[in-house]
């Protein structure tokens, strides 16, 4: 195995080119576990952390561009980012321990393509877009379209994610991510739910995106759930419709961490709670 730490995107692309056994290293919290267990035996590891911009959180057209090597801890410490996208930052902050937070990244969580990844439903609800670089230049792909199934992504050979854009959104907007785990900390989502919404001047929902994780082979955007909220005040009836839409959309499996029925039910419960938190934040209140 070789280790490369290129200083530019061009050099990273060159290091990855024609190397089917190459792996990209950002935070390494998944990659090093796979290396140790010999799930992967790469010819070359390309560390992207020394590339200019990979550790940056930059304002961009009212949104935020987050470099592929920015850790969860760095996001949590960025007050302006937390103020704009508290749900995304909290979702990333749920991944692993303090030690893992010191290294783990949004881009890595996305590329690991676990159906239960915590940050991914929050990014999908946020309408986040991944900037992918590779031998054919740069392209933007919605985060929802990156995972293709457990462990599989839409990235072509030689490509990697350089940054994630959390887009601009209007006034009176808020987001939230909740997951169910049987413990209080350090566990993998049994169900995860992200909600991002905007309110109009009369506190009716003017825009909404609702996502679910861990209830299908990949994260899902639940259009019916968003429709259930639109143009409505978040009263019990609206929340009931939201919960029903999420429970219906969920396509979970039975496993040791939860049954199909339980996961469907919890998908609805989490959606209700996340929507209430997102709406509270949209009103400028703490939640």
């Amino acid at each position: 195995m070789r280790y490369e730490a290129p200083l530019s995107v061009e050099d990273a692309v060159a290091a990855l080119a024609g190397q089917p056994g190459a792996h990209v290293l950002a935070g390494g919290t998944d990659l090093l576990v796979k290396l140790r267990s010999e799930m992967i035996e790469p010819e070359v590891i390309v560390d992207i952390k020394r590339i200019d911009g990979m550790k940056d959180i930059r304002a961009e057209e009212g949104g935020w561009r987050i470099g592929a090597a920015v850790s969860g801890a760095e996001m949590s410490e960025h007050e302006a980012l937390v103020a704009d996208w508290p749900g995304v930052v909290e979702a990333a902050g749920l991944i692993g321990s303090t030690q893992v937070q010191g290294r783990a990244t949004l881009a890595g969580n996305l590329c690991n393509a676990s159906p239960a990844a915590d940050s991914v439903p929050a990014m999908v609800a946020a309408g986040a877009v991944a900037r992918i670089v590779g031998p054919n230049g740069s392209r933007d792909l919605a985060v929802i379209d990156v995972p293709q199934g457990p462990g599989k992504t839409a990235l072509e050979p030689g490509e990697f994610i350089a940054s994630i854009l959390l887009p601009a959104r209007g006034q009176q907007s808020g987001d939230a991510y909740l997951r169910f785990i049987p413990r209080t900390e350090m566990d993998i989502a049994v169900v995860g739910c992200g909600v991002s919404l905007s309110l109009d001047s009369e506190n009716r929902v003017s825009a909404a995106r609702v996502s679910l994780g861990a209830v299908g082979p990949k994260v899902m955007l639940v259009e019916e759930a968003a429709e259930a909220l639109k143009r409505r005040v978040l009263d019990e009836a609206a929340l009931d419709d939201l919960a029903a839409a999420c429970s219906k959309a969920a396509t979970p499996i039975d496993d040791k961490r939860g049954t199909v029925d339980f996961r469907r039910h919890v998908a609805g419960v989490l959606a209700r709670r996340a929507a209430v938190i997102a709406a509270t934040r949209a009103k400028g209140e703490n939640a």
Binding site: M1, G28, L35, D47, S97, Q99, G102, R103
Partner: protein
């Protein structure tokens, strides 16, 4: 296979080492530099026994390659005491018997130090969450949490 030459700073000292590309920082610390205070527990980032600070950030040294340490500053348990002068956390852990077998202790001390540098007045809940990635199979955690809380209080009084 060619070894990688790495220049780094460990506990304030300029340090150079050669490592294999697949060596973790933990492998390098223990097997190449003889800094065996950092322990290997799980090797997969779950137990926190290998905790070190890199550029002031708490990480698991088992989840980082040695080669990544190039140009970084690494702080390990060996740098915690100043000569014969134990760090207040170390003194308090002994005084309150906040350890039994001791294998998790270096990682817990490094992690607790990292917390107190950021937050000199943490709540019990904050201490428990911060240390959630440091597993101890002996103590049941209670003495550890109390020792960290009391050290924080002592350090606040002293400052």
């Amino acid at each position: 296979m060619s070894q990688i030459h790495v220049t780094t700073k460990i506990n304030g000292d300029e340090t150079e080492f050669l490592c294999e590309p697949e060596d973790t920082l933990l492998d390098v610390l223990r097997d190449r530099l003889g800094l065996t205070g950092t322990k290997e527990g799980c090797g997969t980032g779950d137990c926190g026994a290998c905790s070190v600070a890199v550029d002031g950030r708490l990480v698991c040294s088992c989840l980082m390659l040695g080669a990544e340490a190039e140009g970084r500053e690494v702080a390990t348990i060996e740098g915690m005491a100043k000569g014969d002068q134990l760090h207040p956390l170390q003194r308090k852990f002994i005084e309150m018997a906040a350890l039994q077998c001791g294998i998790c202790t270096p990682g817990i001390l490094v992690a607790a130090q990292s917390l107190l540098e950021r937050n000199p007045d943490p709540s019990e809940e904050e201490v428990r969450y911060w240390l959630a990635g440091n597993l101890c199979r002996c103590t049941g955690y209670d003495k550890i949490i109390r020792a960290v809380m009391e050290t924080a209080a002592d350090m606040r009084r002293a400052s």
